[in-house]
């Protein structure tokens, strides 16, 4: 059966070039980078080379890039690390209501320690307003953390504008952005964004799982996340995941090289997919911003049906996608992002996210467009909510 993977915002396959770059570091170059003999030096220089590549991708100095075990760790570190190192200056954090759970649950956890957190609302497209951020600032505010783009609905937030506005204040407030969804997809430059901290994940850009990075601007006061050895400039202890870091570096290098080409290809496919769905299926809502949106993200709600049954039907046709429906969530709560943009529970139920990647072709898009209308129609014919023709 034909298989079409359209869940690239969830994870991506490791590229062959990336895997090849990694392989020697499992075997012949297995050294621990903290040692002084040749094996160790080899590992050390491989890590530094990867650091330069990741730094280059985001316009940072390599000394400001710290490797972690992934995006979730980077978010945890940024938020907890700033909160704990600066709590004598204040205990207030500003974030948005549509952040990834790695940010939201970390903030909630800090609330239990006595921090105050403001969760800003978003408009119907999922945009945070710059003036809302500024208005929420109090004398106690030490950190603003707003994602660069939303992982579910693809809306790109006005991070550079928020960064500018924060710089105008007479007091330093640290600014963190979770850029897990944007790095490698759209141009990301830490100076243009005006951020002090930025989270990245390798497995979203065709690198391995279990590796990420946190960009920390020089002069930022932050607590180490792990304590132990002197790795990562004493800020993140633990023997480095050398093969993972090497793979991350290679993935970053390739992402940078192919960024514009991929951007164009993906946005073309995205627009074709959105247009095709809208034309072929009635009662559909596009979620997220129509233009200020990630190039690979399609997120729609089909009224009157439920997302898990939609995913199961798509899977039977070989199509891999995701949904924000309560029934798919494990917690049985609908997506907090879809609720935050104002969708009622039953409409959030019928959400479908398709996220494109470099291996997707126009035929893949055509195939989805061919299969999807029939599935939606079948589920609607079973739905008590769907107004049946000539009804009773």
């Amino acid at each position: 059966m034909k298989r079409v993977y359209m869940d690239h915002a969830g994870t991506t396959p490791v590229r062959r070039e990336v895997l090849e770059a990694m392989l020697p570091y499992f075997t012949e170059r297995f050294g621990n980078a903290s040692t002084i003999y040749s094996y160790g030096r080899e590992a050390k220089s491989a890590i530094e080379e990867a650091r330069e590549k990741v730094a280059h991708l985001i316009g940072a100095d390599p000394r400001e890039v710290f490797f972690t075990a992934g995006g979730t760790e980077s978010d945890n570190w940024a938020i907890r690390g700033i909160a704990h190192a600066n709590k004598e200056k204040g205990k207030h954090i500003i974030t948005s209501s549509i952040e990834h759970h790695a940010v939201l649950h970390t903030c909630e956890d800090l609330e239990k320690e006595g921090f105050k957190v403001t969760y800003l609302p978003v408009d119907k497209y999922g945009l945070v307003k710059v003036e809302d951020v500024i208005n929420a600032i109090t004398d106690e505010t030490i950190l603003v953390t707003i994602m660069h783009a939303n992982n579910e609905i693809g809306t790109i937030e006005p991070i550079a504008e928020i960064g500018k506005a924060l710089k105008k204040l007479d007091r330093k407030i640290y600014f963190h952005t979770d850029a897990v969804q944007t790095v490698g997809k759209i141009p990301v430059n830490v100076d243009e964004l005006g951020v002090d901290l930025l989270s990245i994940s390798a497995h979203k850009i065709y690198g391995p799982k279990g590796v990420g990075a946190l960009y920390i601007r020089k002069g930022t006061k932050i607590k180490p996340f792990m304590t132990g050895g002197a790795q990562e400039n004493k800020r993140r202890a633990g023997t480095e995941n050398v093969p993972g870091i090497v793979g991350f570096g290679k993935a970053a290098e390739l992402a940078e090289k192919e960024l514009m080409e991929q951007y164009e290809k993906l946005s073309y496919l995205r627009d074709k997919l959105i247009k095709g769905i809208m034309e072929r299926i009635p009662h559909v809502i596009l979620n997220g911003h129509p233009t200020q949106r990630l190039p690979h993200n399609v997120n729609v709600c089909f009224k009157y049906i439920e997302g898990e049954s939609l995913l199961l039907n798509l899977d039977m046709k070989g199509i891999c996608a995701s949904s924000g429906s309560a029934c798919t969530s494990g917690s049985l709560e609908p997506s907090h992002v879809l609720l935050a943009i104002g969708l009622p529970h039953e409409i959030a139920h019928g959400s479908l996210r398709l996220t494109l990647g470099r291996d997707n072709t126009e035929e893949d898009v055509d195939y989805v467009l061919e299969v999807l209308p029939g599935i939606v129609e079948k589920l609607r014919s079973m739905s008590p909510l769907f107004p049946s023709k000539g009804g009773n």
Partner: protein, 130 residues
């Protein structure tokens, strides 16, 4: 995560639809995740002659709806009332723990349809006596 039996009922659900002149209609919402199920029954001589359902919900909700209609079609009202959500889940070869609540929906909708039928019948009987 679903058993073969669940997937089989999900893929080819039995008794989907509505009964225009149903003798009883049961509609139940699921407070856990917000789904909705509607069951229609046609009763003759105390036997469920025909039964149809419509469901807005997950794979387990659709499969349990299908299964419950199959289990009670041709049964008497009293037999149908004895069908529990556990029995439906068992007939499907089990459900993942997080999906057990979906099977409540099916049994509840069936019982609601029977209640509705009884209520309507009582009213009709009273009217006929007058």
């Amino acid at each position: 995560m679903y058993s073969e039996k669940v997937m089989e009922h999900f893929t080819n659900p039995r008794n989907v639809g509505e009964i225009p002149d149903a003798d009883g209609i049961g509609e139940v919402g699921n407070p856990v995740c917000g789904d909705l199920m509607k069951i229609y029954i046609k009763v003759k001589d105390n036997v469920i002659e025909d039964i149809k359902f419509k469901t807005f919900g997950c794979g387990a909700a659709i499969a349990t709806s299908s299964m419950v209609t199959e289990m009670v079609k041709g049964k008497t009202i009293d037999e149908a009332l004895k069908v529990t959500n556990k029995a439906v889940a068992e007939a499907l070869g089990g459900l993942p723990p997080v999906k057990m609540h979906c099977s409540n929906l099916a049994a509840d909708a069936l019982h609601a349809a029977i209640e509705d039928y009884k209520r309507k019948k009582e009213r009709k009987d009273v009217a006929e006596q007058k």
